[in-house]
């Protein structure tokens, strides 16, 4: 069988499909504020716009993280530093502009964030990128903690507990926009997201991008080809800081406040979650992860205060069962889909999905019951779950949840093995095999 021809044909088709997907994603991002429109009041839905803006910012942030994790094989636990510090710089610059000390067009503020991100990443990155693997991860964690501690100590720059605030209506727009309405900031963020995504995509195809991947695969061999792996990691780290800095500036402009949360471990952890849930091995994986995590954080966060548990469990499940992330799963199905064999798998999927869904329901019930007990809300009488009011003191609910989780889970596991066997059979002979 000629693997090469199948691959090339698949490659060509995927390119066409790929640009179609990119343009429809962009089209959707542009149109969504008009699709989800608050017709009753004749204005944009504030929640939707906030969600979209956050997704755009987090997409850039997660992609910049993947320049390290996916492309360079470097696991960072302090990436928020390169979003947060530029966010502080940007918010100070915004105040300086407002005070008349500076004049920078509002549309170019993300560049301020980007350049400061580049400088901070170069500064911290030079010693850090001497290391790789575990030592690198430890140092980035240390830097994250260090900067978070500094943020509470040095009031002048970081503003202490309260953070630093600014007003984004600066009157320096080149387009004559005030940037008072959130929708204007969204479109600015979207434009910069497109710029950052295109640049990062191109960067992956440059000599530096390729050598970063080479370093990831075999850092020692790189040296015998004339390269210094430290230099490669350093450049990649600094450029990753540039893009995280763009996200940081957009963050400052969107929220008009920057506190030490912006440099903290939770945000660093989110970069890791988004990237690994979405998929490190595919360029657009982190965007999928960003969309999902933002939705879980905001939407699920509205109805449940346990959203972090769900993100955490999803993360663990992905790392265990689908280390390629969601994007990896999607890409895996590409050849099977193209060769029209996906129908043969549908039944097997349904057999896993149904009990799987029940297990998820059971798990959600247990988590929600548990969290309401912890918060003491049961004193008010009921947990709102699945549209109804439930009594968290009822043993039936706890038992039912546990039963769903256990029975659904074990059936899903058994069916999962059958699916894997069937998958191996189907994938044989296609280029997925």
């Amino acid at each position: 069988m000629s693997g090469a021809t199948i691959r090339r044909r698949g490659g060509a088709r995927r390119t066409w499909w790929g640009s179609w997907a990119w343009f429809s994603a962009l089209g959707l991002a542009v149109l969504l504020p008009w699709i989800i429109f608050d017709w009753r009041h004749g204005r944009h839905d504030g929640f939707a716009v906030a969600l979209l803006t956050q997704t755009a910012i987090m997409s850039v942030f997660a992609l910049s993280y993947n320049m390290l994790s996916g492309q360079s094989g470097l696991l960072s636990f302090g990436h928020a530093v390169f979003l947060g510090l530029p966010a502080y710089v940007t918010i100070h610059v915004m105040n300086a502009i407002a005070a008349g000390h500076l004049w920078i067009p509002e549309e170019l503020l993300p560049l301020v964030g980007g350049i400061s991100g580049l400088l901070f990443a170069a500064l911290f990155g030079y010693p850090t990128t001497r290391q790789r693997a575990t030592a690198f991860a430890m140092i980035t964690f240390g830097i994250g903690e260090l900067v978070t501690a500094a943020a509470t100590m040095f009031q002048g720059f970081f503003g202490g507990e309260g953070g630093v605030t600014a007003d984004r209506a600066l009157n320096t727009s080149l387009l004559g926009l005030s940037y008072e309405p959130a929708i204007e900031v969204y479109y600015l963020a979207l434009a910069w997201t497109v710029i950052a995504v295109v640049l990062m995509r191109l960067l992956a195809r440059t000599p530096l991008g390729r050598m970063a991947e080479a370093c990831r695969d075999n850092h020692e061999r790189v040296r015998f080809l004339g390269y210094d792996p430290h230099g490669i990691r350093f450049c990649q780290f600094a450029l990753s800081g540039f893009f995280a800095g763009i996200a940081g500036a957009l963050y400052a402009m969107t929220y008009e406040i920057v506190t030490y949360d912006a440099v903290g471990a939770t945000l660093s952890g989110n970069a890791l979650f988004m990237t690994f849930i979405g998929g490190v091995g595919v360029f657009w994986g982190p965007i999928v992860g960003a969309v999902l995590v933002v939705i879980m954080q905001s939407w699920v966060g509205l109805v449940s205060n346990a959203w972090q548990i769900y993100v955490g469990v999803l993360f663990i499940a992905m790392v265990m069962y689908a280390p390629g992330g969601l994007a990896g799963l999607i890409v895996l199905h590409g050849p099977v889909w193209q060769e029209g064999r996906i129908q043969a798998l549908l039944l097997s999927y349904a057999r896993v999905a149904l009990p799987g869904l029940l297990a998820v329901l059971g798990f959600v019930a247990l988590v929600e019951l548990g969290s309401s007990v912890m918060l003491g809300e049961h004193e008010k009488g009921a947990v709102r779950l699945f549209g109804g009011a439930l009594d968290p003191a009822s043993p039936w609910l706890w038992g039912g949840g546990a039963a769903l989780l256990l029975i659904g889970g074990s059936i899903a596991r058994r069916q999962g093995r059958a699916l894997a066997a069937r998958w191996a059979l189907i994938a044989e002979g296609t280029s997925a095999g």
């Binding site: 090469a4 080479a214 061999r221 080809l225 004339g226």
Partner: protein, 249 residues
């Protein structure tokens, strides 16, 4: 004329274990030199010392008259010495083409260029395609290197080593694990691509050694016991006793 590569009284110990014990050797420019010796003699260690992978315990290694011992591998590579690995070592998740492009980037002066697109670089891609052709890997151009067959992986290993055009080439058992036909093809390939270069090769396969080498050195437990033309080395009683005995008989 200064030798391409000169070792003077090179020693290497790991802790108390002395692995290389005073090796002196001159490799002339343009010659093909084979280093043979029993397993564990220190042949790979010697390559590690020359290529900067390990620091020497003492002694001098000179490339074109210039001392290179204890310098970093990348510095030594930039000075014109390249090596392959006995245990295959490449970028397993990159395509075959990208592996070769990685080997060409530094020699062609790209360094960490992040403002150039690989696919747009005519000179780079032309050179990479030529190497694919030479290594008979054109049909495997877009396959991940890790998915190649063993013989193809060995060919790529040689390609990675030689593609950058260094003048002194060290190959560590390039035909290890190959059958006769594959070994013969690899020998022909090595002969072709080291045309006009200086080659130092560790090899166990005597067909390859006597087919390719202008001179042979024999390393036994860290000592160089003989060095000379193939006929002389084959006839050397010390060598016959220490190493070639079984095969010469």
């Amino acid at each position: 004329m200064t030798p391409a590569l000169a070792l003077r009284d090179v020693h290497k110990s790991f802790g108390a274990t002395r692995i290389i014990q005073g090796v002196s050797l001159e490799i002339r420019r343009g010659e093909r030199h084979a280093i043979i010796g029993p397993n564990g003699a220190g042949k790979t260690t010697l390559f590690n010392l020359i290529s900067g992978r390990l620091p020497v315990s003492s002694g001098v290694i000179a490339l074109n008259g210039r001392p290179i011992q204890n310098r970093s591998p990348q510095k030594i590579r930039r000075l014109g010495l390249t090596r392959s690995f006995q245990i295959i070592s490449f970028f397993h998740r990159l395509s075959v083409l990208d592996n070769l492009r990685c080997a060409l980037l530094w020699p062609l002066g790209y360094r960490v260029a992040f403002w150039r697109l690989l696919d747009r670089e005519r000179r780079l891609n032309q050179a990479a395609e030529e190497w694919l052709e030479r290594l008979a890997l054109t049909a495997r151009r877009d396959v991940q290197a890790g998915a190649l067959s063993y013989a193809e992986q060995r060919a790529l290993e040689i390609g990675l080593t030689v593609a950058g055009g260094a003048e002194v080439v060290l190959l560590d058992e390039p035909t290890a694990g190959m059958d006769r036909g594959e070994a013969d093809r690899t020998t022909a390939l090595i002969r072709e691509i080291t045309q006009g270069k200086t080659l130092v090769m560790v090899e166990h396969d005597m067909n390859v050694v006597f087919g390719l080498a202008d001179r042979i050195s024999v390393l036994v437990y860290g000592h160089l016991i003989a060095s000379g033309a193939p006929g002389d080395v084959r006839g050397d009683p010390a060598v016959q006793e220490a190493y070639l005995g079984a095969e010469a008989a």
